[in-house]
Structure formats: structure tokens, C-alpha cells
Subunit: 255 residues, 2 copies
């Protein structure tokens, strides 16, 4: 397909590279930041612009990957005619696109992206939704060309999925960061935790996380918990996190 | 070495199997639960007992893997003479062993163990501590025979390490479980989160988790955060976790 990318962040970068790799043509990259537009366009061999009113009319599909806050203001400045427009965000309803075009949908790859780290795109679930069966089929076909896992997920499900992703990705990463900070205080290298981090993820993926829960909170082992809270007394936020997580674990395992 | 295992839980099981695989001899397994003692003994080709006073005098090393609460009561009933005794717990000081023998130490494999899941033991950091250079050398040698990663970690460091492990393993797993529960409410299969869970762990392990933090909390995007808190209003504990984690992420990234 001939695709115009609106946005040049982590997601647009990884998605653009994958589309290119799978023989789609990236017509143009738009970003309001010139350096980002130029860089991604050079990686993709495409045109670029920083002006919404200079966006190419030659796209068969316009993929919107700007931040949630920017979407509506950027779209308002463009003229899509009847062309297919899809956003790539977990948190936005499909209908935010409705005022701007008669052909629209969502193309949401459920993954955390970095500009500098390659991911195996074929394994990434692509969640699609569209305002007509024809548009859904177009997004489905595009999805299949870059991944083996395409799922029809509606707006209500997608926002729940995005909320879950915040827990299992953003919040999990923060717990890793807290672990790292705690180790620094005793001059222990973070790499000592790596096998544990990998195994914890691998176990949850193989079994159900609820079934493999371990640790002092499951039986609410006061001995260990009180000692840990005492160790955290100079970190009031982490102390609160410890208390709340332990209670929540205990709660989930009482039933 | 000729080793007696005191305890037959997940850790004792995986450790016993690995020791056996690396040509150590397990003399005997003690557990106060007969079924557990028998089962592990049969896997290891060893004797077993449920009576502390029947523990074999033939061990060169006694590895204590009973729960933190049970350690002192079990030890009080045994007679170790001058033989080397090491516990395998992250949360206990080495000195809990001091009343019971003149040769003691700690042999703590930093990993989460399941009876049913094999782990690559060669990658597991084994944290050792001992009351003399000679005993440390014995534990070091034993460690090297089953893993490539042996570290000298003292009691103060070990308890901090254990606290960190609670964050990056037990609490992380609970966040996976919350994600799973949230998806159930919208009838979405948990397997959709698996690539995200794996990638989040892989990224933290390759980079520093603090550097790769993403999500609405980093810039405290009120739009998304308020919507998520609204979605969680019937789950007050998860709502509190969401709020606290978002504040803590924002706090860590303000500096």
C-alpha cells in the first residue's frame, strides 16, 4: 500500500520500518518537529513535511501516530477527502476520526516501542477496528502483511486493553526501576536481578500469573512484611506501594 | 559433596535436582510433611525423614530451605555437631545459624522456583556468605559446580536484594494478575499481553529500566490518567495502585 505516516515517534518509527520491510511504500512522513520528520523519512526513503496542509494527497492510507493530545488539532488542519485514515493509539475511541473523513479505523500494535531496539513484529498483536466491513478488510490485510496476530478489538475492549497494558508494562517497568534504585543504595549491580526478571515474565506467560504468585504477601507473612516496611521507611512512596501491593496480593489470594 | 536437604519446597526441589545433576550426592531429605519428603527423596534417590532427630550425621553440608518462620524451630531440634550448615533464604541474616553450629553460611540462589518448571540453573546468581574464609571457599566451590554466577553478598546486602526481588518478581507478577483480571472483564484473552510482557522484561534487562520508562505517568498526562482512574472506580485497590504508581513514576522522572 501507499502509506502516509502522521507522526515520527517510537511507534511510527518501528511501524514504518516494518511496513517498508514488508514492501509497502511510505509516501511521506509528517511531524511538527523537522528533525524527527527528516530522520524517519531518510530511514524510509520517503518525502517529509512539518506542515499539515502540505500532507500528500497520494496516500491510500493515513496512519496517525501523534500523541493523544495532538491528534485532533493535527487532523483539523488536514484534508483527507475520502481516503482511509487510521489511528494507532490504544487509549482513543475510533470515533475521534469521524469528524474528519468517511473512511476510518484503528490499527493498534500492542507493544512497547523504542527507536533503538528492534522487536519481532511478526509476533505483535495488531488490534484493528473500522467503520465499515470494507475498511476492516483493508486493515486486516495490511495487518497480515506485517504480523501473524491480527485481532478485531472494539473501542471499549481496546481502552481496557490499554489500561491493562499500563499495569503490565509501564507499572511493571517502574517496579524494575525501584528494584534498581534499592540495589544502588547497597552498591549491588542491577544485573543480578536479570535472571529473576526474565523468569518472572516467562512464568506468567507460560502459566496464569494468578496461579504462580509467590512471596511473603500471599500468606501475609507479617514477619517479613514488617521488616521490609521498616527498611523502606525513608522512601515513603515505595513504602506505600509495598503496603498496597501486599494487601492487594493477599486480597486476590483469599478468594 | 554429600548433602542433606532440610526442606522439600520449590527451592529445595529445583536445587536438589541441580545438585544431583552436577554429581553431588543427596544423602537425605527432611520435611515435616511425609508426602513432600518422600516425593523429593524419590526424585533424588536419597533417604528421607520427617523427624528432626533422625537427620543423618553423614552430610558434609546441611542446606536449610524451610520457611523463614520454621527455621529456628527446626534447627533447635537437630544436632549438627561441627558440620557446615547453610540456609538458602534471602530474608534471613546469616547469624540465625550461629547458635546451632560453629560452621555456617548462606547459599542463596536468587530466582523464583516452581516445582513444575525447569530453569537454567547455570545462569542463576548464587549469593554466598560464610562465617570463615574456609567455609566461604567450600560454598564458593559448590556454587561454581552448579552455576556460572557466584557472588559474595553479606547479610545487609542480601536483605536489600531480597526486598528488591519482592518488587521485581512478586509485585510485578501481581501487576500481571491485575492485567489478566481486567482483560477477563472484557472477555479478552490474556495471551494478547504476552509479547508486551516479554518485551518489557527484555528491554529492562538490556537497558536501565529508569531510562526506558514510558506511559502516561511520565509526563503525568491527566487526560489518560483520569480516564483510567474512572475505569477503575469499582476496583478501589487497583485504583489506589494506579494512582500511587503514577505519582511514583512521575516523581522519579521529575529529577
Amino acid at each position: 500500500m501507499d502509506i502516509v505516516l502522521i507522526g515520527a515517534g517510537n511507534l511510527a518509527t518501528r511501524l514504518g520500518l516494518r511496513l517498508r520491510e514488508c514492501n509497502h511504500r511510505i509516501v511521506q512522513v509528517y511531524s511538527r518537529t523537522e528533525a524527527s520528520a527528516k530522520l524517519l523519512a531518510s530511514l524510509l526513503g520517503s518525502e517529509w513535511t512539518t506542515q499539515p496542509d502540505e500532507i500528500s494527497p497520494e496516500g491510500q492510507l493515513y496512519l496517525i501516530s501523534v500523541s493523544d493530545k495532538a491528534v485532533e488539532s493535527v487532523l483539523a488542519q488536514m484534508n483527507f477527502g475520502n481516503r482511509l485514515v487510521a489511528h494507532t493509539a490504544g487509549s482513543m475511541p475510533m470515533d475521534v476520526l469521524q469528524p474528519f473523513t468517511i473512511n476510518y479505523g484503528v490499527f493498534y500494535p500492542l507493544q512497547t516501542f523504542s527507536k533503538s531496539r528492534e522487536v519481532d513484529f511478526a509476533q505483535i498483536p495488531i488490534c484493528i477496528e473500522a467503520n465499515s466491513p470494507e475498511n476492516l478488510e483493508i486493515l486486516h490485510k495490511l495487518g497480515r502483511s506485517i504480523s501473524n496476530d491480527i485481532r478485531e478489538i472494539d473501542t471499549v475492549q481496546r481502552r481496557q486493553l490499554h489500561l491493562s497494558a499500563v499495569f503490565v508494562c509501564n507499572f511493571v517497568n517502574h517496579l524494575y526501576a525501584v528494584g534498581e534504585e534499592l540495589l544502588k543504595e547497597e552498591k549491588i549491580d542491577f544485573d543480578i536481578l536479570k535472571p529473576l526478571i526474565s523468569e518472572t515474565a516467562a512464568k506468567a506467560v507460560e502459566f496464569s500469573p494468578k496461579e504462580v504468585q509467590t512471596g511473603p504477601a500471599v500468606r501475609y507473612d507479617r514477619n517479613v512484611i514488617d521488616k521490609h516496611l521498616e527498611m523502606l521507611k525513608s522512601h515513603s512512596q515505595w513504602n506505600d506501594i509495598y503496603k498496597l501491593m501486599s494487601e492487594s496480593i493477599h486480597q486476590l489470594h483469599r478468594h
